[in-house]
């Protein structure tokens, strides 16, 4: 499910005000193989996609909220400089105003084509998450399928309430890589939302159909 569909599902109709949609990715490392990064960006843009994270203000059950929504269709929802910048600006704005922050993740991790600068986004956004907590602003994270690598190892699991979608795969290293590296047989349901609930990483598993109602309730409780 793309960012637009998530916004339609969660935000009050007509309340979405997107911010910083004008900042765009660039091929800073001159990445050419197996596919030129510029072509990947261009192809995604032709599909009408605008980076792996979109951010802005909306209302949910008439309460204001800052939103950061990943879009897996844009280079696997990977955390890039632009994605990190949009997240950090939204988190800072939420911290400054006290308006709750809602994150919806869907990401394979950091974007390889932006190299170590993509890795640095983990620190950029987690610094901002720390400030959000210090400002005593509520932070809710909705983890959807999949959430891995540099996104699970940065802001995704740092919320006051972590909410996973049923069956979503959530982890740091993907199961394929773990099998390659350790020859381990992984149990059924390894890294599923339910597995993460059992292992203490998420607070609740909530189906999509009940998500908006649950968020409205949480916004009410954490006011």
């Amino acid at each position: 499910m793309g960012a637009d569909a998530w916004l339609a599902l969660l935000a009050d109709p007509g309340s979405w005000q997107e911010r910083w949609s004008d900042i765009r990715p660039h091929d800073l490392l001159d990445w050419k193989r197996p596919k030129p990064y510029e072509d990947m960006i261009e192809a995604a843009r032709e599909e009408g996609l605008n980076e792996a994270v979109r951010t802005g203000l909306a209302r949910i059950g008439e309460r204001p909220a800052w939103l950061g929504v990943f879009d897996f269709r844009f280079v696997g929802g990977t955390l890039s400089i632009v994605a990190g910048e949009r997240l950090a600006r939204g988190l800072e704005a939420a911290a400054a105003s006290g308006v709750p922050y809602l994150l919806v993740t869907a990401s394979g991790g950091a974007r390889m084509q932006e190299g170590v600068l993509a890795l640095m986004q983990l620190a950029k956004v987690n610094g901002a998450v720390g400030r959000l907590h210090v400002s005593r602003t509520p932070f809710f994270s909705v983890l959807t399928d999949p959430t891995f690598g540099g996104v699970s190892a940065s802001l995704a699991l740092m919320a006051d309430v972590n909410i996973a979608e049923p069956g979503a795969a959530i982890g740091f290293t993907g199961a394929r890589v773990i099998k390659q590296a350790t020859y381990a047989d992984l149990p059924k349901g390894f890294q599923s939302a339910e597995f993460q609930l059992t292992h203490g990483q998420v607070d609740m598993v909530v189906p999509r159909t009940e998500l908006r109602r649950r968020l409205i309730h949480l916004l009410e409780l954490y006011r």
Binding site: R33, A110, G115, V116, G149, A153, Q180, F190, Q201
Partner: protein
Amino acid sequence: MTDTLSVWQLVEMARHQDRPYFGDYVSRLVPDFVELHGDRLSADDPALVAGIGTWHGRTAVFMGNQKGRTLSERLHRNWGMMHPEGYRKAIRLAHQAAKFGFPIVCLVDTPGAYPGAGAEERGIAAAIAGAIMEWFTIPVPVVACIIGEGGSGGALGLAVADRVLMMENSIYSVASPEAAASIVWRDNARKVEAAEQLQITSRDLLAMGVVEEVIPEPSGGAHTDYDAAARALDEALLRAVQPLLEEDTQLLLERRYERYRYIDSLIGAAEHFGPKVSAKALAE
């Protein structure tokens, strides 16, 4: 040295089995080093050695990945790949350093966090994320140096610092070349091509503004002369830590935040983003 080697030769140099490890450096820099163990939750992670000792006349906390040289040592140290307990130990000792006002030195040498089932079951993602977030709150000088491999979030969990340095023949990357090749080609045999595109050498990182200083190694590499490599590291660390000791704590934390907040500005990203937007302006 760096000028004459290919990127892949540099990767091999960074991983050289005779390359000085954390233990080789700490024994030279901090002769009275006392190792401290455990995360106080469940375990001690041998992939991270951490402790305390006298460094240039003051007490400092040193921590770093230890890879191990013999097979049994490598198994024990897990090739320097940390489990969640390692990141939790690091943060426990960071808080302890803060309590006593000791500066912290982190020497990073890991291909990444351990990609295993146990690490996942015990919350490796949240352990790394928590460490990255927590480093921003530690009100004492923190200096990190990549001494061999700096791989992925597993390395960053030990490298959120006021100054980040790199030994000349070390690498620092969003993912190991093998992992990056596996992600973009679905074939980790393309590791050399991946390494070339990722821009992971000390010179690349200095140019991007991700590290403040590259520490020259003895000709032939750090493994040819441990004493000379340790002296160069010691001097660079001291140069980095000293001005930070003078700094006001609030300012120190503010600058650490800004170091990462605007870390991509040098490469030109700032021009694409337009002027920096202050949080205050956003709230209005």
